[in-house]
């Protein structure tokens, strides 16, 4: 194994989602003051990379496109055991949809170079588009497998991948390089070891802007994002209330009827 790139994204901590609001003007989430965590599925991707490195050697590099505050999240990935990190951060990246983000991440992968696997989480818990992995593979002109639930290296140039499909699982052989995205069943991510916290302090986080990546400005940021938000609404969930009236016998009869209608009891 040569090098594994793991794409990681800082996302708002679900424990604080009740404090996330929406900006009706820009149709974006207002995340100010909400702490970030590493996207949970990205942790599974990182665990898979670390396990492969432990059995077959190589280097694990974290790659993220995010504002500079993402360093804290990235540092956690380094504490988990990644060797180094590359953070793609530039104002011109702001507003990128999944396609533009994939362009930028693909440029990041090319900048790092020499990789055998690019690993992603299947989707992020904030955007939940699940598009990055396949777009990234397409842009890098590499094979792509999503919904990975298992992987093991078999011989020098082969990886045996278990992929979850609608009615079961498929075992696939893949050569290198390949772009994969994992489901949570793939593993249980390790906890951050305290020794890792100390080690992470001296690990390198390389900051790159678009001056380093030279991605066509027309293909990134808002300009390069074909996804346009049509509308945004906050859904309210309330219990359905219905008042049954009449004599006690009438009410009981109506109630039983409703229970049948709801399918709680079958006729």
């Amino acid at each position: 194994m040569n090098r594994i790139i793991v794409c990681v994204k800082p996302v708002p901590d679900p424990k604080h989602w009740d404090k996330v609001s929406m900006d009706p003007e820009t149709k974006t989430l207002k995340r100010e003051g909400i702490p970030n965590i590493m996207n949970p599925l990205d942790k599974h991707a990182l665990e898979a990379a670390l396990a492969l490195r432990e059995s077959h050697g190589g280097e694990v590099v974290l790659l993220s496109m995010a504002p500079p505050f993402a360093k804290t999240t990235i540092r956690e990935g380094l504490a988990m055991g990644a060797d180094r990190a590359v953070l793609l951060s530039d104002r011109v990246f702001a507003g990128s949809d999944s396609l533009a983000t994939a362009e930028i991440l693909a440029a990041g992968c090319r900048w790092i170079g020499g990789f055998d696997i690019v690993l992603c989480g299947n989707l992020s818990i904030d955007g939940s588009t699940a598009q990055i992995c396949s777009q990234l593979a397409e842009m890098l002109d590499l094979p792509n497998v999503m919904h990975v639930t298992g992987m093991e290296e078999s011989g020098e140039d082969n990886l045996i991948i278990t992929q979850k499909i609608e009615n079961g699982y498929v075992k696939l052989f893949s050569g290198f390089p390949v772009v994969l995205s994992v489901r949570k069943e793939v593993n249980k991510p390790r906890y951050i070891p305290f020794t890792g916290i100390l080690a992470a302090e001296s690990k390198e986080i390389t900051m790159l802007s678009n001056k380093d990546l030279c991605v066509d400005p027309e293909r990134i940021g808002l300009k390069g994002s074909p996804t346009k938000m049509a509308g945004l609404e906050v859904r309210k969930f309330e219990r359905k209330k219905e008042k049954l009236e009449g004599t006690v016998d009438d009410i009981v009869e109506k109630l039983v009827e409703r229970i049948y209608q709801c399918g709680v009891i079958e006729c």
Partner: protein
């Protein structure tokens, strides 16, 4: 003056919280029922670094400081106080060996403690009393190349879960008449006594040992003969009291969270009870107590890390935090009303756990005698 935690300390807190919130709750019901500590978590805790946090890396530890340890114990205590109780005593064994042990003893025992091969434990208290150390009855008599131990030890945390015990026994008279020993649990004459049935900190194991002509090799003496009081006092004062205080601090944090959550969820007179000033006052008092205790705890640990004398400060942190945890838990029960005494609600457990921290590791009054001495020293003529 710097009051903020470093980036390292913040990440440490996050890492422990993640571990504690995921791994501990599934085991708590059984811990409450059986009074057993979940030993299956010892290895996972070691992998994270909890067991070896203050042990130097050359003995397979992490080598972090006491502020870091306090963060770890507080976070564990926030979820279930039986964990920091067990671990702070485990750390006492690590500290006693690291501070006073020979190279051979450190090589033999410290890695086993750091990697979770066994839990550490220290037995100081005799049935005749714990605070009157010099008056203890357990004896160790040197015969040839062995010490012969006789007597009993009680109220020992992790008593039934450790492969070796650190025991303080009498080898002479007066302050220089105590010595510290490592006793392997399988040594003939070393016997496990009863397991205690406590009403709080249920999941932390507490019990007794008995020594009946127990032959301990001379090389198992920790430090010099007659140094036992120093071993005991330094370990209790610096590691034990900071540990007990951090356990109570974790309880206090949990009390605050439970009180705040319930006050916001419970609706009376058409609005959450948190809008009532009477409830706000109670929560404000809990919140203030929490902050006072947090400052006392981290100041004491910081002083230990600076190699400053800190027995007064650790005493203040221990006695004040443990009492504050009880008072705060009582207020949280008041906020909960009758729900507060139901087993389904955490506050009743927090109250029981807080009560156990008060006498554990020395009562408030014993701590206050030391604090009083320090407070009055400038006025002494």
């Amino acid at each position: 003056m710097e009051f903020a935690f470093t980036e390292r300390e913040e990440m440490l807190r996050k890492a422990v919280r993640e571990f504690a919130e995921a791994e501990i709750p599934p085991r708590m019901e059984a811990m409450e029922e059986t009074g057993e500590f979940p030993m299956d978590l010892l290895k996972p805790m070691a992998q994270v670094g909890i067991t070896g946090i203050i042990t130097p890396p050359e003995y397979s530890g992490v080598g972090m400081n006491y502020v870091a340890r306090t963060i770890v114990l507080e976070e564990l205590g926030r979820v279930c106080a039986a964990f920091p109780m067990a671990l702070q005593v485990h750390h006492m064994a690590c500290a006693a060996l690291n501070d006073f042990g020979t190279d051979e003893q450190k090589k033999k025992y410290l890695p086993a403690l750091a990697t979770g091969e066994t839990l550490g434990t220290v037995g100081v208290t005799d049935p005749s009393g714990g605070s009157d150390l010099i008056g203890m009855k357990t004896t160790a008599e040197l015969k040839g190349d062995k010490y012969i131990l006789n007597g009993r030890k009680c109220f020992i945390t992790n008593s039934h879960l450790s492969d070796f015990w650190i025991v303080i026994a009498k080898t002479g008279e007066g302050a220089k008449g105590l010595s510290a020993f490592i006793v392997d649990k399988d040594t003939p004459g070393a016997k496990l006594g009863r397991k205690e049935n406590k009403f709080g900190l249920r999941g932390a194991n507490t019990g007794e040992w008995a020594f009946d002509n127990c032959e301990v090799p001379k090389e198992n003496l920790i430090g010099q003969e007659g140094q036992g009081l120093t071993v005991a006092l330094k370990t209790i004062s610096e590691t034990g009291r900071t540990g007990m205080a951090a356990t109570a601090l974790g309880i206090l944090q949990a009390v605050y969270e439970e009180a705040g959550k319930f006050a916001n969820e419970r609706v009376l007179y058409g609005k959450p009870i948190s809008t009532l000033q009477a409830i706000q006052f109670l929560v404000a008092e809990i919140y203030t107590q929490l902050d006072i205790c947090r400052l006392l705890n981290y100041r004491a640990s910081w002083m230990k890390d600076q190699n400053m004398r800190c027995d007064t400060e650790t005493g203040m942190a221990k006695y004040y935090t443990c009492n504050a945890a009880v008072e705060a838990a009582k207020k949280a029960i008041e906020i909960h009303g009758s729900y507060g005494i139901m087993k389904e609600y955490a506050v009743q457990r927090l109250f029981r756990d807080a009560m156990v921290t008060v006498p554990a590791g020395g009562t408030a009054e014993v701590a206050k005698t030391g604090i009083g001495r320090a407070a009055l020293a400038p006025f002494k003529k």
